[in-house]
Structure formats: C-alpha cells, structure tokens
C-alpha cells in the first residue's frame, strides 16, 4: 500500500503508526513536497488481516520472536506451552525491572509473557536503559506498536 499526493504527484512518506483503540490501526503519511498529512485508518477486520500476515506497518524495530504470531494471536494456547527458562544464558539479561514494571508484566498471560518480557528487555538493552519501568514500557509500546502488551 502506498499513498500518492495527487496535487504534487509525489509519493507520500510514512510518518507514524498508532493504535488508538477500538481495533483501529492508524498510519499517517506526509507529502515531502507540500507537507500535507493524511491518516489511513483500518477497521478491526483489516487490522487483524495485517496482524495475520506477521508484518508491521511502519517497519520492524525488533526482530520477530520465534512463533510470534502463534503466541500473540492464538487464544486457546496452553499456558505452559513454551519453556522460557531454557533460553541461552544472557539473552536479554542485564536489565533490572522495577516493581511496577514486574507487576504489569505479571498481568500478561503466561502464554506470551516470556516473549513480551524479552521484547522489553531487548528494547532496553539496545537503548542502554538500566531499569525497565512502567514509563519505559509505555514508550516501548508506542515505538514498537505492541498493542495489548
């Protein structure tokens, strides 16, 4: 999908991705010539179709996790299906979690908790963040498009 500024006959550039709620995915595009900004809004079914393809509008900022779609989207998964304790030592480690962040993490279903924890840990590690707090989680969610995490 691409957007064309008809007046300028220029391809518009992706600006930002938002998940404003209600199952809507919003992506904004800006004309590099006249500066006009438009937003594309998908309905929940269209948002779901994008998710089902395993792609990220706006591009990926972190690599896909193993079985990411299965873990994120299957609603009848076993809570203990994945043994996250046996990952290789040191991966995503070295980051502290505040009590508030841990409390929030514990509200994530077991089926995906390990993957979500790893995403936040990798996000913090890549940016040199020593402690993951609820505020860091909010920022990461907005930047990475982690709806519901």
């Amino acid at each position: 999908m691409k957007f064309l500024c008809v007046d300028c006959d220029k391809q518009m550039a992706f600006e930002e991705r938002q998940l404003p709620g209600d199952g809507t995915l919003a992506a904004t595009f800006k004309c590099p010539t006249c500066g006009r900004v438009v937003a594309m809004l998908t309905n929940p079914m269209e948002t779901q179709l994008v998710s089902s393809l395993g792609v990220e509008i706006g591009g990926r900022t972190v690599p896909a996790q193993p079985l990411e779609t299965v873990r994120k989207m299957v609603s009848t998964g076993r809570e203990d299906a994945f043994d996250e304790g046996s990952r290789e030592p040191g991966a995503g480690s070295g980051t502290n979690w505040s009590a508030g962040a841990l409390e929030r993490l514990n509200r994530v279903p077991n089926f995906v908790r390990g993957m979500v924890k790893r995403i936040y840990a990798d996000y913090a590690k890549e940016r040199g963040i020593a402690e993951i707090t609820p505020a860091v989680m909010d920022t990461a969610r907005a930047e990475l498009g982690l709806e519901g995490m």
Binding site: M1, L4, Q11, F14, L49, S52, G54, G59, E68, S75
Partner: protein, 259 residues
C-alpha cells in the same frame, strides 16, 4: 485530476517495507530448511484415509533405517501426530532463535499445534469474530510458516508434513516454501476416495510438485486394493505400498525403502 500512476511507478523508499518483511519471512524458512534433505508433503484430497497414521509410521520406519526424520503436523485444527509418535505435551524449550521440536518414538522429531493448545481446545484466534473467514486462512498460513521457520529442525534427511484433507494447506505450503514440495499421496480402496485423490494429485501436478507415489491404505477383505492402479497409471507414478488394516513393521520398512 491528472492520471494516477501505478503502485510500481512509485519507487521511493518505503519505511514499512512490507515486501521486504515478507521476503525476510521466506528467507527465514529457507535458511531453516537448508539442512533438510527432502521436504515431503503427505496429502490426499480425502479425509479419513489415514494420512497421519501413514506419516507417523513411515517416519518411524525411516528413522529405524538410520535416517534423521522430522514430522511437522500441518493439520492445525485436528493435530494427531504427537499421539501417534507417543509424545506428551511438555513445554517446548525456547531459545532466541527458535523452539526445539519434541522427540518421539524411534527418535522422530516433531512439532504440532497439539503441543501448544489447551487440552481439548480448538485452534482459536484473538480478533473480531465477524467475517473471520477473511483473515483466518492468513492466520493459519502464518502459523504454518512459523512452524517451518521457527523450529530448530537441525539437519534432517527428510521432513514429512502431515497435511489436512483438501488442498488449502498444500497451496499455502507451496507459497511459503517458494517451490512445490514432493508429494506422497495416500488413498483408500474406494471409488469415492480415488475421485477426490485424483483432483488433489492433478492440483499438485499443476503446481509443479513431483509425485513420489501412492500409498493405498486400509486394504483387505472386500476392499482388495486395486483402484490405485488406475491412478498410478494415469499419473505415471508407482504404487509404493498397499497397507492392510494392521501393517507389520516389515510393511512400513518396505514403504520406507521405496521412497
């Protein structure tokens, strides 16, 4: 209004890079399967002919003959391979680069949705229930892609894929692999099965798959097993086995030897 240019006329850098993301998914599958000697889809146009049973026992026979074999249970909605391979539902160890397949009877490695779903629960997805047919197929195709590309299969002589009835999963598989897999066809000695299997074999040929041969299953008594001869002649493929209701280990070994 001026004439609108086509999608491909717009060639500026695209930050989303959706084609590149899809390309990366395909590359991951290709890299993961680089150590697999043969990918074989076990399929039939007909349900209830024993595809999973044949897949599991063929895999075991291949393993007993010294080959490294994996089975991907591609029947996401009715997975049975773990039970046939004597695999329990232990959590799967997960690493950054993938998850480890389970190891079943005779050392056959395996992944199946049965290991990931709650006991007795159907495969269900989060998302809007209205018009779910629009996205459910794509979701299942993504799950299949992840089972291929995110499982640490390692070096295998053969990876058998147990496909559900019908052609949908086979078509998805061709797209994900980027090339049609070799196909082993399973049928039973009834005219109804032959007719359905013929359509599936035709579809596989049209897609460019190499047909390895036909296994006629559940042969015995009033079903002597001869209907497959016409199919074999029609498609120029061998009949690899006619299996009775209770095949002996020798029967499985014979089938493995002819593959």
């Amino acid at each position: 209004m001026p004439p609108i240019r086509t999608y491909h006329d717009l060639t500026d850098a695209d930050r989303s890079g959706l084609p590149e993301q899809i390309g990366a998914q395909r590359k991951r599958v290709a890299e993961r399967l680089a150590g697999v000697g043969r990918v074989i889809a076990v399929m039939s146009g007909k349900g209830g002919v024993g595809k999973s049973y044949v897949t599991a026992h063929l895999a075991r026979a291949l393993a007993r003959s010294g080959r490294a074999v994996g089975v991907l249970d591609a029947d996401l909605n009715g997975p049975t391979i773990p039970r046939l391979l004597g695999i329990d539902h232990s959590p799967r160890p997960t690493h950054r680069d993938g998850i480890e397949p389970a190891v079943g009877a005779d050392g056959v490695t395996c992944i199946s949705m049965a290991m990931l779903l709650e006991d007795g629960a159907p495969l269900a997805f989060k998302g809007p229930s209205a018009e779910s047919f629009v996205w459910r197929g794509a979701m299942e195709a993504s799950a299949l892609r992840e089972l291929l590309g995110d499982v640490a299969w390692g070096a295998l002589d053969a990876l058998l894929l147990d496909l559900p009835p019908g052609m949908q999963r086979y078509v998805e598989l061709c797209d994900i692999l980027g090339a049609p897999p070799a196909v082993l066809t399973v049928t039973i000695p009834t005219p109804e099965s032959r007719d359905a299997v013929r359509r599936a074999m035709r579809a596989a040929v049209d897609r460019g798959s190499r047909l390895l041969g036909i296994v006629e299953n559940m042969v015995g008594d009033e079903f002597p097993g001869s209907l497959d001869r016409r199919l074999a002649g029609e498609f120029g493929v061998p009949i690899l086995a006619r299996l009775p209701w209770r095949p002996t280990p020798d029967a499985w070994a014979g089938l493995a030897g002819r593959l």
